[in-house]
Amino acid sequence: AQSVTQPDIHITVSEGASLELRCNYSYGATPYLFWYVQSPGQGLQLLLKYFSGDTLVQGIKGFEAEFKRSQSSFNLRKPSVHWSDAAEYFCAAQRAGSYQLTFGKGTKLSVIP
Protein backbone atom coordinates (compact mmCIF):
# COMPACT_ATOMS: atom_id res chain seq x y z
CA ALA A 1 0.00 0.00 0.00
CA GLN A 2 1.13 3.54 -0.70
CA SER A 3 2.25 5.39 2.40
CA VAL A 4 4.13 8.42 3.66
CA THR A 5 6.04 8.25 6.92
CA GLN A 6 7.21 11.13 9.05
CA PRO A 7 9.24 9.50 11.84
CA ASP A 8 9.34 12.51 14.14
CA ILE A 9 6.10 13.54 15.85
CA HIS A 10 7.57 16.58 17.59
CA ILE A 11 10.84 18.46 17.15
CA THR A 12 12.13 21.37 19.19
CA VAL A 13 14.91 23.63 17.92
CA SER A 14 16.41 26.91 19.05
CA GLU A 15 15.84 30.00 16.98
CA GLY A 16 18.68 30.40 14.51
CA ALA A 17 19.52 26.69 14.48
CA SER A 18 19.26 24.54 11.39
CA LEU A 19 16.32 22.23 10.80
CA GLU A 20 15.74 18.94 9.02
CA LEU A 21 12.36 17.20 8.97
CA ARG A 22 12.33 13.66 7.69
CA CYS A 23 9.92 12.10 5.21
CA ASN A 24 9.94 8.64 3.64
CA TYR A 25 7.52 7.31 1.07
CA SER A 26 6.53 3.85 -0.06
CA TYR A 27 5.21 3.79 -3.62
CA GLY A 28 5.64 1.49 -6.61
CA ALA A 29 7.07 4.29 -8.71
CA THR A 30 8.44 7.68 -7.71
CA PRO A 31 5.45 9.85 -6.82
CA TYR A 32 5.11 13.59 -6.90
CA LEU A 33 6.21 14.91 -3.48
CA PHE A 34 5.09 17.89 -1.46
CA TRP A 35 5.65 19.64 1.84
CA TYR A 36 2.81 21.60 3.43
CA VAL A 37 2.79 23.73 6.58
CA GLN A 38 -0.20 24.16 8.89
CA SER A 39 -0.16 27.07 11.31
CA PRO A 40 -2.83 27.55 13.98
CA GLY A 41 -5.91 29.21 12.54
CA GLN A 42 -4.65 28.88 8.98
CA GLY A 43 -5.15 26.44 6.20
CA LEU A 44 -2.46 24.14 4.89
CA GLN A 45 0.02 26.04 2.74
CA LEU A 46 2.30 24.53 0.12
CA LEU A 47 6.00 25.06 0.86
CA LEU A 48 7.47 23.23 -2.13
CA LYS A 49 6.93 20.38 -4.55
CA TYR A 50 8.98 17.87 -6.53
CA PHE A 51 7.79 16.40 -9.81
CA SER A 52 11.02 15.50 -11.57
CA GLY A 53 14.44 16.88 -12.50
CA ASP A 54 16.74 18.62 -10.05
CA THR A 55 16.63 16.71 -6.77
CA LEU A 56 17.15 19.83 -4.64
CA VAL A 57 13.97 21.86 -4.59
CA GLN A 58 13.66 25.42 -3.33
CA GLY A 59 10.47 26.60 -1.70
CA ILE A 60 8.97 29.56 0.05
CA LYS A 61 10.05 31.00 3.42
CA GLY A 62 13.64 29.82 2.92
CA PHE A 63 12.84 26.10 2.92
CA GLU A 64 14.37 23.50 0.64
CA ALA A 65 13.97 19.76 0.25
CA GLU A 66 16.13 17.06 -1.26
CA PHE A 67 14.75 14.04 -3.08
CA LYS A 68 16.82 10.88 -2.66
CA ARG A 69 15.53 7.98 -4.72
CA SER A 70 17.88 5.44 -3.12
CA GLN A 71 16.48 6.24 0.32
CA SER A 72 12.88 6.91 -0.75
CA SER A 73 13.19 10.16 1.15
CA PHE A 74 12.22 13.79 0.69
CA ASN A 75 13.58 15.65 3.72
CA LEU A 76 12.79 19.28 4.40
CA ARG A 77 15.55 21.63 5.52
CA LYS A 78 16.07 25.20 6.60
CA PRO A 79 19.48 26.66 7.50
CA SER A 80 18.24 29.05 10.20
CA VAL A 81 14.88 28.70 11.91
CA HIS A 82 12.76 31.70 12.91
CA TRP A 83 10.22 31.73 15.73
CA SER A 84 7.48 32.18 13.14
CA ASP A 85 8.33 28.76 11.67
CA ALA A 86 6.69 27.05 14.65
CA ALA A 87 3.86 25.04 13.07
CA GLU A 88 2.99 21.54 11.95
CA TYR A 89 4.63 20.24 8.79
CA PHE A 90 3.15 17.60 6.52
CA CYS A 91 4.87 15.61 3.82
CA ALA A 92 2.58 14.36 1.06
CA ALA A 93 2.82 12.21 -2.05
CA GLN A 94 0.74 11.83 -5.17
CA ARG A 95 0.96 8.97 -7.65
CA ALA A 96 1.28 10.15 -11.24
CA GLY A 97 -2.15 10.11 -12.87
CA SER A 98 -3.97 10.25 -9.52
CA TYR A 99 -5.56 13.28 -7.89
CA GLN A 100 -5.24 12.00 -4.35
CA LEU A 101 -2.62 13.28 -1.96
CA THR A 102 -1.43 10.86 0.73
CA PHE A 103 -0.21 12.73 3.77
CA GLY A 104 2.11 11.71 6.56
CA LYS A 105 0.99 12.18 10.15
CA GLY A 106 2.89 15.42 10.47
CA THR A 107 5.77 16.78 12.52
CA LYS A 108 5.09 19.52 15.03
CA LEU A 109 7.92 22.05 15.19
CA SER A 110 8.49 24.11 18.33
CA VAL A 111 11.03 26.96 18.30
CA ILE A 112 12.77 28.09 21.48
CA PRO A 113 13.63 31.81 21.50
Binding site: Y32, K49, A92, F103
Partner: protein
Protein backbone atom coordinates in the same frame (compact mmCIF):
# COMPACT_ATOMS: atom_id res chain seq x y z
CA UNK B 1 -11.78 37.11 0.29
CA UNK B 2 -9.52 35.45 -2.24
CA UNK B 3 -8.99 32.18 -0.38
CA UNK B 4 -11.00 28.99 0.08
CA UNK B 5 -13.87 29.64 2.47
CA UNK B 6 -15.46 26.95 4.62
CA UNK B 7 -18.57 27.20 6.76
CA UNK B 8 -19.31 26.57 9.52
CA UNK B 9 -15.92 26.76 11.19
CA UNK B 10 -17.28 24.72 14.08
CA UNK B 11 -20.25 22.38 14.24
CA UNK B 12 -21.41 20.42 17.26
CA UNK B 13 -24.15 17.88 16.70
CA UNK B 14 -25.69 14.86 18.31
CA UNK B 15 -25.20 11.28 17.20
CA UNK B 16 -27.68 10.37 14.48
CA UNK B 17 -28.19 13.91 13.17
CA UNK B 18 -27.63 15.15 9.61
CA UNK B 19 -24.85 17.66 8.87
CA UNK B 20 -23.90 19.81 5.88
CA UNK B 21 -20.51 21.44 5.45
CA UNK B 22 -19.98 24.07 2.79
CA UNK B 23 -16.92 24.97 0.74
CA UNK B 24 -16.51 28.05 -1.45
CA UNK B 25 -13.38 27.57 -3.58
CA UNK B 26 -11.15 30.16 -5.15
CA UNK B 27 -12.87 31.71 -8.14
CA UNK B 28 -11.90 30.01 -11.39
CA UNK B 29 -10.52 26.86 -9.79
CA UNK B 30 -12.06 23.88 -11.54
CA UNK B 31 -10.72 21.21 -9.18
CA UNK B 32 -12.14 20.84 -5.67
CA UNK B 33 -11.20 18.33 -2.97
CA UNK B 34 -12.48 17.26 0.42
CA UNK B 35 -10.12 15.81 3.03
CA UNK B 36 -10.71 14.73 6.61
CA UNK B 37 -8.18 15.27 9.40
CA UNK B 38 -8.57 13.39 12.65
CA UNK B 39 -6.68 14.33 15.79
CA UNK B 40 -2.98 13.51 15.48
CA UNK B 41 -3.30 12.42 11.85
CA UNK B 42 -2.57 13.89 8.48
CA UNK B 43 -5.42 14.78 6.14
CA UNK B 44 -7.11 11.84 4.41
CA UNK B 45 -8.59 12.10 0.95
CA UNK B 46 -12.37 11.88 0.64
CA UNK B 47 -13.47 13.09 -2.80
CA UNK B 48 -12.30 15.05 -5.84
CA UNK B 49 -14.43 17.12 -8.22
CA UNK B 50 -13.44 18.32 -11.65
CA UNK B 51 -16.13 20.81 -12.56
CA UNK B 52 -19.53 19.55 -11.48
CA UNK B 53 -18.75 15.86 -11.46
CA UNK B 54 -17.14 13.72 -8.79
CA UNK B 55 -14.11 12.36 -10.64
CA UNK B 56 -12.92 10.28 -7.69
CA UNK B 57 -15.02 9.48 -4.61
CA UNK B 58 -13.02 6.45 -3.51
CA UNK B 59 -12.10 8.05 -0.18
CA UNK B 60 -15.64 8.42 1.13
CA UNK B 61 -15.77 6.03 4.10
CA UNK B 62 -19.34 4.76 3.57
CA UNK B 63 -22.70 5.65 2.06
CA UNK B 64 -23.53 8.06 4.90
CA UNK B 65 -21.15 10.51 3.25
CA UNK B 66 -22.10 12.36 0.08
CA UNK B 67 -20.84 15.50 -1.65
CA UNK B 68 -22.18 17.68 -4.43
CA UNK B 69 -20.98 20.55 -6.56
CA UNK B 70 -24.00 21.35 -8.73
CA UNK B 71 -22.73 24.47 -10.51
CA UNK B 72 -19.03 23.69 -10.54
CA UNK B 73 -18.19 26.16 -7.80
CA UNK B 74 -19.53 25.79 -4.24
CA UNK B 75 -19.51 22.27 -2.83
CA UNK B 76 -21.41 20.74 0.06
CA UNK B 77 -20.32 17.70 2.02
CA UNK B 78 -23.30 15.90 3.54
CA UNK B 79 -23.13 13.43 6.39
CA UNK B 80 -26.19 11.41 7.36
CA UNK B 81 -26.79 9.66 10.69
CA UNK B 82 -23.61 11.07 12.20
CA UNK B 83 -21.51 8.88 14.47
CA UNK B 84 -18.99 9.85 17.12
CA UNK B 85 -16.22 8.54 14.87
CA UNK B 86 -17.10 11.20 12.30
CA UNK B 87 -15.67 13.85 14.63
CA UNK B 88 -12.77 15.49 12.77
CA UNK B 89 -11.75 18.58 10.87
CA UNK B 90 -13.09 18.52 7.33
CA UNK B 91 -10.80 20.34 4.92
CA UNK B 92 -11.67 21.67 1.52
CA UNK B 93 -9.09 22.56 -1.12
CA UNK B 94 -9.19 23.85 -4.67
CA UNK B 95 -6.71 24.12 -7.51
CA UNK B 96 -6.66 25.51 -11.03
CA UNK B 97 -6.18 22.00 -12.36
CA UNK B 98 -5.97 18.48 -11.03
CA UNK B 99 -2.37 18.32 -9.91
CA UNK B 100 0.14 20.64 -8.38
CA UNK B 101 -0.61 23.15 -5.66
CA UNK B 102 -3.76 22.76 -3.60
CA UNK B 103 -5.14 25.78 -1.77
CA UNK B 104 -6.74 24.72 1.50
CA UNK B 105 -9.42 26.35 3.58
CA UNK B 106 -9.18 26.56 7.36
CA UNK B 107 -11.52 23.63 7.78
CA UNK B 108 -14.80 22.84 9.49
CA UNK B 109 -14.39 21.19 12.89
CA UNK B 110 -17.18 18.66 13.43
CA UNK B 111 -17.88 17.28 16.89
CA UNK B 112 -20.44 14.52 17.27
CA UNK B 113 -21.64 14.05 20.85
Amino acid sequence: GAGVSQTPSNKVTEKGKYVELRCDPISGHTALYWYRQSLGQGPEFLIYFQGTGAADDSGLPNDRFFAVRPEGSVSTLKIQRTERGDSAVYLCASSPQGTGELFFGEGSRLTVL
